[in-house]
């Protein structure tokens, strides 16, 4: 049973209940209005057209909406309906959130740990939250962004730049509980959108540029009590520690941030999560070995946090190519049989397809012109041609990054924002000081050689089906809809729509600021389909003209 199939009976029940409510008493309708989303609702994914309850829309990470009102034929009429101005800036970065929507209310997080509840019809504010952040933030000061809320019942969950996890009352914006994930003074921060499962809030941590040790945590949504923690860098003697020097101090600061959302397979009860770079980023002499589980995807049991399998994309990373990209889960025909796969386009320039039950690598193919490696060996390891010390390879922001990709099941196409860059890396032994970044070298980027592209990859072969090029390397994410549309953003500030099959550009709108780290989301309200994109300090809502 696929993720979507699981949700269908519930949708039928919901629709029946809605019809009954309309026919019966107003008080019943009122009860329907206030029913807050539970785990079963999140499990439905995007089956309810008026809801978007988790970062990627559903647990699969596909960011593929079933909405069809806006389509290839009418998209040229798409117009802005309202904008929301946050008033809080992060020059040099982006407005990176994906809003959630339920019962006509948008729940939005912003830079510098602002957050809002907004009327999804008008963009007007119900409440605003602003966290008093300490002045001595570490990693959080250089990336003062946030990717969104998690939601369960009347609670919202948000992580903070001082590495806390907060629970909000979604009606008032009041804080229900506030717990520390890690000591921000050491270099920790948190920026992702919490992933809410059945009775668990899953979060990860940022700070791999500092002497930190990454982890993935599960918390009780009601109390904030920690249920389990998985360390991405093993402790002395633990499995994986053999890929590090035999030195507890090095393991304790091995990096391996988990700063971007993972995905979830409810049938296998497995969480799929990307792990970031080892520390120091560019200097590997202090950490000979593969440095597990840095630059890997890990599959964890959702109830215990135990590791089921892992795959390391970039062994002994020297280029800061975190693997914190959204893993996309899909059930696809693969060489004659149905395979449950996880797909990921990595910062190292390769697109991977893996069996998500076993972790078996099915395919790894380059999707950019990277000269780091051009193939994966039969042992599953990249055949490295150039580690960046001699001639250029992708820059530290990578061939793609955390901006969400999208998967269109009917077309079998994976849409990813690709960055073509040219960087030369110079290692230098860092001085390790808690609370100070330790990159371990410098990078020289040839800015004349940068460009970007939206690329459609055939998941069966990894081959490029079509591309649309951008003048500069881009951090905008992707949304697809079953109406045959791809929505994407670029570094020049354009929000665009494409024909998903042909790649033809159908529509574009200049938002006035780079679209950075964000992808669009969409929902129905009052019979109209809205598409939202954050850029700069502005959230813009688009729809077709009212009939």
């Amino acid at each position: 049973m696929t993720i979507l199939q699981r949700g269908l009976p519930k949708l039928v029940r919901r629709r029946s209940a809605a019809i009954a409510a309309l026919l019966l008493l107003p008080v019943v309708a009122c009860a329907q209005e206030t029913s807050a989303p539970d785990y079963e609702d999140i499990l439905q994914g995007l089956a309810d057209p008026e809801r978007w309850l988790t970062y990627s829309g559903d647990y699969s990470g596909q960011r593929h909406s079933p909405l069809t009102q806006i389509n290839v034929d009418n998209i040229s009429s798409l117009r802005p309906q309202w904008t929301f101005q946050t008033g809080t800036t992060t020059r040099g970065r982006g407005f990176e959130t994906t809003p959630l929507v339920d019962a006509g209310v948008l729940y939005v997080t912003g830079s510098n740990n602002y957050a809002w509840a907004i009327d999804a019809r008008s963009g007007r504010t119900f409440w605003q939250y602003r966290r008093n952040l300490p002045r001595d933030l570490t990693y959080g000061a250089s990336a003062p962004v946030n990717r969104g809320f998690g939601m369960l019942g009347n609670s919202l969950f948000m992580v903070t730049l001082d590495a806390h996890l907060l629970s909000f009352d979604r009606r008032s914006g009041d804080i229900l509980w506030d717990i520390e994930l890690a000591d921000y003074r050491q270099g920790y921060a948190a920026t992702l959108a919490p992933l809410v499962l059945d009775g668990k809030v899953i979060v990860g941590i940022s700070g791999g540029e500092y002497a930190t040790r990454g982890f993935i945590d599960a918390y009780d949504p009601a109390s904030g009590d920690r249920l389990w923690r998985f360390h991405t860098i093993p402790g002395p003697g633990e499995p994986g520690s053999e890929t590090w020097p035999d030195d507890p101090a090095i393991l304790a600061r091995g990096g391996g941030g988990t700063w971007m959302n993972g995905s979830y397979d409810p049938d296998l009860n497995l969480i799929y999560w990307g792990v970031g770079n080892p520390n120091p980023d560019y200097y590997g002499d202090l950490r000979p070995g593969d440095n597990l589980y840095s630059n890997s995807i890990v599959a964890l049991d959702a109830d215990s946090g135990e590791l089921r399998w892992h795959y390391q994309f970039t062994p002994h990373d020297l280029n800061d190519w975190d693997s914190n990209q959204i893993p996309i889960l899909a059930d696809i025909e693969w060489q004659g049989s149905l395979r449950r796969v996880v797909m990921l386009a990595n910062r190292n320039g390769f697109f991977y397809v893996m069996d998500r039950v076993t972790g078996e690598l099915l395919q790894g193919t380059p999707f950019t012109a990277t000269t780091w490696a051009r193939e994966i060996g039969t042992d599953g390891r990249p055949i490295i041609l150039n580690d960046g010390r001699e001639g250029c390879v992708p820059d530290p922001w990578g061939s793609t990054n955390f901006m969400p990709p999208s998967y269109y099941p009917d077309l079998g196409l994976f849409y990813v924002t690709a960055r073509e860059t040219c960087a030369t890396y110079v290692s230098e032994q860092p001085i390790i000081v808690p609370g100070q970044a330790s990159f371990g070298g410098v990078v020289f980027i040839d800015s004349e050689k940068g460009s970007g592209a939206l690329r459609a990859l055939d998941v069966q072969t990894g081959e490029l089906r079509w591309e649309f090029t951008y003048p500069s390397p881009t951090f905008g994410g992707v949304l697809t809809t079953v109406a045959g549309l791809v929505f994407a953003g670029d570094h020049e500030g354009n929000f665009m729509a494409f024909d998903a099959s042909s790649g033809e550009n159908l529509w574009h709108y200049q938002t006035g600021s780079r679209i950075w780290g964000a992808a669009a989301m969409t929902y129905m309200l009052d019979g109209r389909q809205f598409v939202l994109i954050p850029a700069g300090t502005t959230l813009t809502a688009f729809a077709l003209p009212e009939p």
Partner: protein
């Protein structure tokens, strides 16, 4: 490789010994220093370079020239306007830039001053003192440069403003840029031509070509200053062709056109206008 390691160790030792020295200095800096107390210590810039590479280079680049994609400024140019002070740079490093990704830094006072020393050491400055004939240079500038280049409030806009250029370039670099202007073309001055159909007709005879300096561009539009110094913008869908030209809009001046002595006069004039 071994030699490189030795050099690195040496730099680290220098940094550590410097960190240890100025306890007295820290005590005396309760009130913020106006001048860099390490200004005369040649080791400070070296040690500051180590700090720069570990704490600053990811955003400002290994060469300190900035990364435009993330709005990180070119730090080699911060001094050339003449308004930047050591104290101001110290405070920016210490406090960060609110509303941006430039964080505050919890470095000690000596470490922060080392960074200031390092930034001074990589500053692009024109140390040359020109001694030509300023009056003659003024006339030569007007004849040869003024249509496209500005100095103070006079001149054109097709090329870069030259009011501060003698503080940012050495004499040799200035001469090179006059003799071979296409060797290095500054951002926002790259030559471009767009070709479009006049009057809607696509026939080759009706094609029009506009040449200028590329100011900005996205997937759908292009912004430029044409050679008549008008700001022009075009939708790419309306264009037949976009030609990115290798040669600068500025003509190369041979020695016959402008002798080195005449260039000295022009640079002297520019310097007199600072």
């Amino acid at each position: 490789m071994k030699k490189l390691r030795r050099v690195k160790r040496c730099i680290l030792t220098a940094l550590m010994s410097l960190s240890a020295i100025p306890i007295v200095l820290q005590l005396s800096s309760v009130q913020a220093q106006q001048v860099n107390p390490l200004e005369s210590d040649p080791r400070a810039a070296l040690a500051g370079g180590v700090l720069f590479r570990s704490q600053c280079a990811t955003c400002h680049g290994g060469d300190a020239k900035g990364i435009t994609g993330i709005d990180a400024p070119d730090l080699t140019l911060i001094w050339s306007a003449g308004e930047t002070t050591d104290e101001g740079v110290f405070q920016t490093i210490r406090n960060g830039v609110p509303g941006s990704i430039m964080p505050s830094h919890g470095l000690t006072d000596p470490e922060t001053w080392m960074l200031v020393s390092y930034l001074r050491s990589v500053a692009v400055t024109g140390a040359t003192k020109f001694s030509g004939d300023s009056l003659r240079g003024s006339a030569l500038f007007l004849t040869n440069c003024g249509r496209c280049h500005r100095v103070k409030s006079g001149g054109g806009s097709l090329g870069p403003d030259l009011s501060q250029i003698t503080t940012r370039r050495s004499s040799a670099a200035l001469i090179n840029s006059v003799r071979d202007p296409s060797a290095v073309i500054a951002r926002r001055y790259h030559p471009v031509s767009v070709v479009f159909a006049a009057g809607g007709a696509a026939a080759a005879s009706n094609q029009r070509r506009v040449q200028g300096a590329l100011k900005s561009e996205d997937a759908f539009s292009i912004q430029m200053m044409d050679t008549n110094q008008q700001l022009r913008a075009f939708m790419k869908a309306d264009l037949i062709e976009i030609v990115r030209e290798p040669n600068s809009l500025m003509p190369a001046f041979s020695r016959a056109a402008l002798s080195n002595a005449e260039l000295e006069d022009i640079f002297t004039f520019l310097q007199s206008q600072l």
